[in-house]
Symmetry: C2
Subunit: 185 residues, 2 copies
Amino acid sequence: MPRAGLSATAVVDLALTVLDEHGADAVTLTAIAGRAGVAAPSLYRHVAGRDELRALVGARILEEMTDRFAGAVMGRHGADAVAALMRAYRDYARQYPARYLALPLDPLHDPALQAVGRRQLDVVLTALRAYELSGSAAIHTVRCLRSVAHGFVSLEAAGGFGLPESLDETYERLITIFVRSLPHS
Amino acid sequence: MPRAGLSATAVVDLALTVLDEHGADAVTLTAIAGRAGVAAPSLYRHVAGRDELRALVGARILEEMTDRFAGAVMGRHGADAVAALMRAYRDYARQYPARYLALPLDPLHDPALQAVGRRQLDVVLTALRAYELSGSAAIHTVRCLRSVAHGFVSLEAAGGFGLPESLDETYERLITIFVRSLPHS
DNA sequence: AGCGCCAGCTAATGGTCATAGCTTTCTAGC
DNA sequence: GCTAGAAAGCTATGACCATTAGCTGGCGCT
């Protein structure tokens, strides 16, 4: 009986594959085990159970997104940085709609996600740095940015826009609306 | 064996109660049957199964929201109507966070929800009537409004705002940002 | 070379959805 | 009132999933 050479990371990788291909409901320990060529209980050597697996998948998604955002913001300033961040946000969800819908929305309330959550918050604050927002105003602005981006992107990922008008145009309008709401410009 | 006097409507009522009290994952046929004082298979006399139940619950939520929106918009015009609509949107989700998170996001793609979905769209268009938007511009504007409201509200319902700043203030800012993006004013 | 750890196995339990087929209650029509 | 039949409920059964317990054998380390 040759070993499969699994690990927590490998299990999460397989979970993401199943998630992308068959949707959130198909992410079952049995399905992952099948794809790993292993019996379902064997997965318990690597993850504590379904709940922990879900948490790990959520953390991975949050990390992937944060990395992309950091890359998009790097080297840009002001409206450019904000627009690039918002486009990167949408691009992730278009590439991986099912992952986006599995994104944990309250990272700061989960000890296991707090670190990544704060890092993502920092990236967004970096994108807004040119606007020199003070503490509380910065928080409200970040929340507005997140609301606008998450709102459009989650609706798009869920197939929530039924009419044929261009989604690119709608999103560019949202970017414009948000950027224009910022100080100065 | 006295009859429980169930009906599809009553089953959906019970499902909403369970949803509100114990969250989406707790909405199981067994739980609903228990609350009705009935064995689980008996529910199949009233709903075709778990999927249809979910669809009926989604339709009910969509209807409830649409009714409230219609009431909020009635008798108002322009920015007032838009702001009232957006506040009614958030109020529903604050009163019933679990219901909001179970809201079907793509009603226009589901034959059973198309009618309510269109009615909700009409209500939003009514709120925007003062701005005299032409066909395609109206669609983009409705999408932006929906994105902004859904984004904030779904994050709030999911506990997604970890920091202590006032959520009322953040939402009022979003309303202002959106209203200012409309023509004229 | 061999020893021990640990990955992976089988077997078994309990929960959920779903279906089949039987029994009881209510009600409409006489 | 009485009686059929439709409607509402039941028990029993089976599939699938997560999880636990206890066993076995491959692989790394000395």
